[in-house]
């Protein structure tokens, strides 16, 4: 159980993020979470959506530089120490978290070295990992 993340190269300029969001909206792709990071000139904006294949296709059609990456998605209880528990599992086994961000609710997407291995490790804990199907099935508020 892992999810596909869409990363997009976006210049750090007004309106550039909007173009991406409008493309998702017009093709009825629902964004479940995102994070925007920057280097000054440009940023990589990462999205978790309900239908990644359609989301990527619509961006490619408009000529955007976009790529799909596999990430791990976990659902945590909203109480102190939960994220630490996940981090401890990975730290102990030497799995590096490159980046991570939370989605709607307390869903958290994590880019790790080895998604499959990380998932196995979490299976032994009570941390719930989330699938693409779970995200798609979430009721829209």
């Amino acid at each position: 159980m892992s999810v596909q993340q869409i990363s997009v190269f976006v210049q750090s300029q007004p309106g550039h993020l909007l173009r991406i969001l409008e493309a998702f909206e017009s093709s009825h792709v629902s964004v479940r979470g995102y994070c925007a990071s920057d280097t000054g000139d440009y940023g990589i904006v990462r999205f978790i959506v309900d239908d990644p294949a359609r989301g990527l296709a619509v961006l490619q059609e408009q000529g955007a530089a976009a790529a799909m990456t596999e990430v791990l998605c976990v659902k945590l209880e909203d109480r102190p120490g939960e994220l630490a528990r996940v981090a401890a599992v990975f730290a102990e086994k030497g799995i590096n978290v490159t980046y991570g961000y939370s989605l709607i609710s307390t869903y958290i997407a994590l880019k790790v070295d080895d998604v499959a291995h990380a998932k196995e490790l979490l299976a032994d804990t009570s941390v719930e990992t989330v699938s693409q199907a779970d995200l798609a099935a979430l009721e829209r508020e």
Binding site: F9, T39, A65
Partner: protein, 452 residues
């Protein structure tokens, strides 16, 4: 109608006999014959100019040269040079050699500084111009049954009407669509069975991209030929357009001051070169500093004297364009001299911290890097006290990676390649695909914001 697939195959298999030669009596004449025609016309041209244009008469009298001194082609060097300023100083009609009643068309350059450059043509000049255009379009395989769609703006600029009249006189059906409205251009290509598109290369690429976005299949399109002008066309850009649009593209060289487009045209057998219409233009290649001729075949500034041009007969026009000219016969069958495509001008050289940098050098480096489009923009400033060159380059979608580390490594590798060629440090900025503005006229690659 020429079959598109056959034309593409002829180019691929180097079967140059497939592409017509418009005027073989001139274009395939011996060097001796070409030089004899040039000399006879030069003698007439100098006499015409001296008699009818006081500005030239005064100049020639001041340096003690008379039309009778022109006895060989080399004697052209006795004549004064003409610079752009001559046309500006005599604005609007000071260099005209015929009564205005005889002038049938007026054109002007865009005039980025001060007054525009105004040029006129009489009926004879229009015929000469049409002949030049017919030659260069036939080099690309255009025939009278073709349907040519104009994507240049018409207006005062020589590119629009120059190509229009030339193609029409060859017998083509002209479709004067004009600039802009890209989706309409694509619809017209399909509806009218357009076989030839006249555009700037950057606009042609834009048409291509818009077509792909709306699902137009260029391989099945009637379009077969792209005739480019208005801005230089880097080889990589042309290759990209040819493969994505399934067309044969050529570009030509010309400038308003000596006529407009059509001085020389790209040859499919030696695509870096353009055949000069030598019976209409006498060429020289000189050292831009001294004005003295450079050795045969070497780089220098192109100087042009139109031959038989009546309304405005400029002598020895300094183009400021850098090129080299070779006179060996060409694999396409033509014997007219070929000039290397102009990649740089004497005056587009940038001096960055004392080092000379030509935009063409940057183009060459970018052409060798996978993952970048041919589009770029140079910004020069000295805000920090030192000259700083920032190069904006456009990322191709497939070169994108989710990792900042990899993107930055890519950016750094581009900067290093540039530094090794330019010998000066460059700041590279990555821009989104399509993020560099496409031009519909002359592409402005350079913005110099330096304050002195």
């Amino acid at each position: 109608m020429i079959d598109k697939q056959e034309a593409l195959k002829a180019l691929q298999t180097q079967d140059y006999s497939f592409f017509p030669i418009h005027n073989p009596a001139i274009e395939c004449a011996s060097r001796e014959r070409i030089r004899a025609i040039q000399l006879a016309k030069l003698i007439e041209q100098v006499a015409w100019t001296y008699e009818r244009v006081p500005w030239y008469r005064e100049k020639m009298d001041a340096t003690g040269v008379s039309p009778a001194d022109i006895k060989t082609l080399e004697d052209v060097r006795k004549l004064p040079f003409t610079d752009k300023s001559a046309l500006r100083d005599t604005f609007p009609y000071g260099l005209f050699a015929v009564p205005l009643d005889e002038v049938v068309e007026l054109h002007a350059s865009s005039g980025t500084t001060g007054k525009p450059i105004v040029v006129g043509y009489n009926a004879h000049d229009m015929d000469m111009w049409a002949d030049c255009i017919a030659r260069l379009v036939q080099m690309a395989g255009v025939v009278p049954s073709d349907r040519a769609q104009m994507a240049f703006g018409y207006g005062m600029f020589t590119g629009g009407f120059g190509l229009h009249y030339g193609l029409q006189s060859l017998g083509c059906m002209m479709i004067p669509a004009g600039s802009g409205n890209t989706e309409r251009h694509i619809a017209m290509i399909e509806d009218y069975g357009t076989t030839v598109l006249i555009a700037t290369p950057s606009y042609a690429l834009h048409v291509c991209e818009v077509g792909e976005q709306i699902g137009y299949d260029w391989s099945k399109s009637p379009l077969r030929v792209g005739l480019f002008g208005g801005e230089p066309c880097p080889p990589k850009l042309k290759e990209e357009i040819e493969s994505r649009m399934h067309v044969i593209c050529t570009d030509n060289y010309g400038l308003t001051e000596v006529m407009g487009p059509g001085v020389s045209g790209e040859c499919l057998a030696s695509r870096d070169m353009q055949h000069i219409a030598e019976d209409h233009f006498l060429w020289e290649v000189v050292d831009p500093e001294t004005g003295e001729p450079v050795p045969d075949g070497e780089m220098g500034e192109l100087v042009l004297t139109p031959l038989g041009k009546q309304a405005i007969p400029v002598l020895r026009y300094r183009t400021h364009d850098l090129t080299r000219v070779v006179t060996e016969p060409c694999a396409c069958g033509r014997t007219t001299a070929r000039m290397q495509k102009v990649r740089s001008r004497c005056d587009d050289m940038l001096i960055i911290r004392g080092t000379n940098v030509f935009p063409s050098q940057i183009e060459d480096v970018l052409a060798g890097i996978e993952g970048l489009t041919p589009h770029y923009r140079i910004v020069v400033d000295n805000e920090t006290g030192l000259d700083r060159l920032t190069l904006h380059v456009e990322l191709k979608p497939e070169a994108f990676s989710d990792s900042f580390e990899q993107m930055d490594a890519f950016r750094t590798s581009i900067a290093e390649k540039l530094k090794s060629v330019l010998l000066v440090g460059v700041t590279v900025r990555l821009v989104e695909p399509g993020g560099i503005e496409r031009s519909f006229g002359k592409t402005k690659h350079v913005e110099d914001k330096r304050r002195s």
